[in-house]
């Protein structure tokens, strides 16, 4: 019997699922190698109950109703892989975690009392253990394919926690930080995107989140030496992966007067 795949969505932009559908050359092969048992964005044949051999979960936990969904997914899945920034650290919408929740609601909604949300946008791993965290906003589709392939053949996915700088140098891009003075978060950001931003002459804005052992303090000092006001340094760390602990701590440090 083919392994059963589920793709589950929480609070998100759907970009991670779109990334899966963007595997144009491999999508049909994935459909042949796996029984796509639950993927409501792609098919009306679905099975929320499980069990599943592999579950990909996109989005952050932002509403009370999502809590049982996550617990169920964990219970019914042999492997649970959290994909994307939202599922792994709360994502961009975790920006609301700093705000006064009620105040935020009232900014957008005239009658905020009817909105049912949690006070924080949480990562899946805060509720249940996950077997693998695939980062990126969105995740790189080749890395997503690697996770699925590695699961199918039984190897550890080749997903490295190194800095973007390694990919950037392997690609031969000129370092934007050193050669143009463009502030770049590449040194503290996990590789995987393919060093897209330096390749387009912009600094990394860390849409893949903190790398292992990120020395955010040293980089932030350097950005300040290069003339960025501390408030702007704080903003740079408080974006898509702002809720990830190393970035959260750094933005808090820089925010203080």
């Amino acid at each position: 019997m083919k392994p059963r795949l589920a793709v589950i969505k929480l609070a998100s932009c759907d970009g991670c699922q779109v990334t899966l559908l963007d595997l144009e050359d491999e999508l049909l092969a994935i459909g042949e190698a796996l029984d796509v048992a639950h993927f409501t964005e792609a098919s009306s044949r679905f099975d929320p109950d499980g069990p599943f051999d592999l579950t990909l979960i996109e989005g952050s936990v932002s509403q009370p109703r999502q809590i049982p969904i996550v617990r169920h997914a964990r219970a019914m899945s042999k492997r649970l892989v959290a994909i994307g920034a939202c599922a792994n650290t709360g994502g961009l919408q975790a920006l609301r975690n700093w705000a006064n929740h009620e105040e935020y609601l009232s900014l957008v909604y005239a009658r905020p009392e009817y909105i049912e949300t949690l006070a924080e946008s949480k990562p899946v791993s805060e509720l249940v253990p996950v077997d693998f965290e695939l980062n990126g906003c969105p995740p790189d589709r080749h890395q997503l394919l690697e996770v699925i392939t590695a699961f199918l053949v039984g190897r550890r996915p080749n997903i490295r926690s190194e800095s973007v700088c390694l990919e950037c140098k392997r690609a031969g891009h000129v370092c934007v930080h050193v050669a143009y003075g463009i502030p770049c978060l590449g040194p503290v950001t996990q590789a995987g995107c393919g060093a897209l931003c330096p390749g387009k002459r912009r600094g990394c804005y860390s849409c893949f989140g903190p790398r292992e052992n990120a020395n955010t303090g040293s980089l932030a000092d350097d950005l300040e030496r290069k003339g960025l006001p501390p408030a702007e340094v704080a903003r740079r760390f408080r974006l898509i992966y702002g809720w990830a602990p190393p970035f959260r701590a750094e933005s808090a440090r820089r925010e203080k007067p």
């Binding site: 049909l28 459909g31 002459r201």
Partner: protein, 430 residues
């Protein structure tokens, strides 16, 4: 007609982007309730951009939607550039148009071949369709989609949340050789899209026509990344500055939801059918040659119009690539200052309006974003009501499926809409 109560309801709509349900309840032939209920989590984007540098806005608003991030980036830069008085060079405008063509191709192909086509061929999804004798069709769709993504990747680094768009232009201009490398793939995809359009035109559409108020941008070219005016059926052409006055986003007391309607209270439709209704004459000749007579008033037939728009986008992309000879800087410089700007572009799903106020500190003070799906939502509910008579004559499951199919025909993007929709929208019909 039929006595008693009938309820058509799907709690987990499939092959749509995001999470929603609908319920249509009819008692004694009278619609009691027509609800498109969206339980997707709300996501507060207008609040997120407050206090942010204008240069961060394109990265932030892209995350509203993983299917049409370029649309969000393009509406944002258009509005912010207006605020700063920046006027992009012809090179930048052409490149943006090409960039946007990539998103149209990719997004429309996703909907046509992977989400919508299974409704007409009787399959739960494209994978099932491919496994049961329609592999060629699905592969063709995937090839077209891939070319759209290739354009996005070449200009923006990646297809979902691309990285090179910035206020004033792009972080780097592609070289003619880089774009030229796409040419042959685009030409091939254009041929394939023409074949696909003929295929779509031959599908059997459920009979359902409504007298829609179409709202879309209008201009010299088929509307995409740039227009200064929009058209409303029966009311002619209006400056885009009037958008918020004419298309009113208001919280109605009985629904706890912001809904866009015309200032006269009527619902309206935005998206491919509206663009086609107002701009059929501006289609690229290769697309015009395949287009049905305008307007198309059957939402089920939107698959044909989407195919025509794919042909248009590919044909334009081909022209733009062949004509590409970059001049001027990759981006125009401007210091942020206290100002307000608004702008709209045509997302794959329809008119996408942004307005920003920049404070004296150069940071965003206020933002308003009106995505297409929130504009279409009231219209969808009205369509459900309009379908009720024909549903009552049908077998229940088939009728329920038809409701879902109608909603799907709008290609609703619920993720987009939820930056301001409440969890449960209930609008009791009179």
């Amino acid at each position: 007609m039929t006595d008693g109560e009938r309820t058509f309801r799907v709690d987990l709509m499939t092959r749509v982007e995001g999470e929603g349900r609908f319920e249509l309840r009819v008692r004694d032939g009278v619609v009691e309730r027509a609800v498109l209920s969206i339980y997707e989590a709300p996501r507060f984007f207008e609040a997120f951009v407050r206090g942010r540098s204008i240069f961060e806005v394109p990265d932030i608003v892209a995350r509203i939607c993983g299917i049409c991030p370029v649309a969000y980036q393009m509406s944002a830069v258009r509005a912010l550039e207006e605020a700063l008085g920046l006027s992009p060079t012809p090179t930048l405008r052409a490149l943006r148009r090409l960039f946007y063509c990539g998103e149209w191709i990719s997004s429309h192909a996703l909907h046509v071949f992977l989400l919508h086509a299974p409704d007409f061929l009787g399959f739960p999804g494209a994978l099932e369709m491919a496994a049961a004798g329609h592999r060629d069709l699905v592969e063709r769709g995937l090839r077209i989609k891939k070319v759209g993504n290739a354009i996005l990747e070449r200009i923006g680094g990646r297809a979902v949340h691309p990285i090179s768009a910035r206020v004033g232009g792009f972080t780097r201009l592609p070289t003619p050789a880089e774009l030229g490398a796409l040419r042959d793939d685009v030409a091939r995809a254009l041929d394939e899209a023409e074949i696909a359009t003929r295929w779509a035109a031959g599908l059997d559409f459920p009979a359902f026509e409504q007298d829609y108020v179409f709202v879309s941008l209008v201009g010299d070219a088929y509307p995409l990344e740039w227009a200064d005016e929009f058209a409303v059926s029966g009311r002619g052409t209006l400056p885009i500055a009037d958008f918020e006055r004419v298309c009113v986003e208001a919280q109605v007391p009985w629904s706890n939801a912001l809904q866009a309607r015309l200032d006269d209270g009527r619902t309206y439709l935005t998206g491919p059918l509206a663009r086609f209704a107002h701009n059929a004459a501006r289609l690229h000749p290769r697309a015009a040659a395949l287009a049905p007579p305008a307007p198309v008033r059957n939402p089920h037939a939107s698959i044909v119009v989407r195919c025509v728009e794919i042909v248009h986008a590919l044909a334009e992309a081909l022209d733009l690539i062949e004509a590409y000879a970059p001049e001027g800087p990759a981006y125009l410089e401007a210091a942020p200052r206290e100002s307000t700007g608004l702008g709209a572009t045509e997302a794959p799903r329809g008119l996408l309006y942004h307005r920003y106020a920049i404070g004296p500190d150069g940071l965003v003070r206020e933002a308003a974003i009106v995505p297409p799906t929130s504009q279409n939502q009231a219209r969808i509910e009205q369509d459900l009501i309009g379908m009720a008579p024909q549903l009552l004559t049908m077998e229940h499951e088939r009728a329920t499926r038809l409701c879902e199919q109608l909603i799907r025909a709008y290609d609703p993007c619920i993720s987009c809409a939820t930056h301001f929709l409440t969890l449960d929208i209930e609008r009791v019909t009179p």
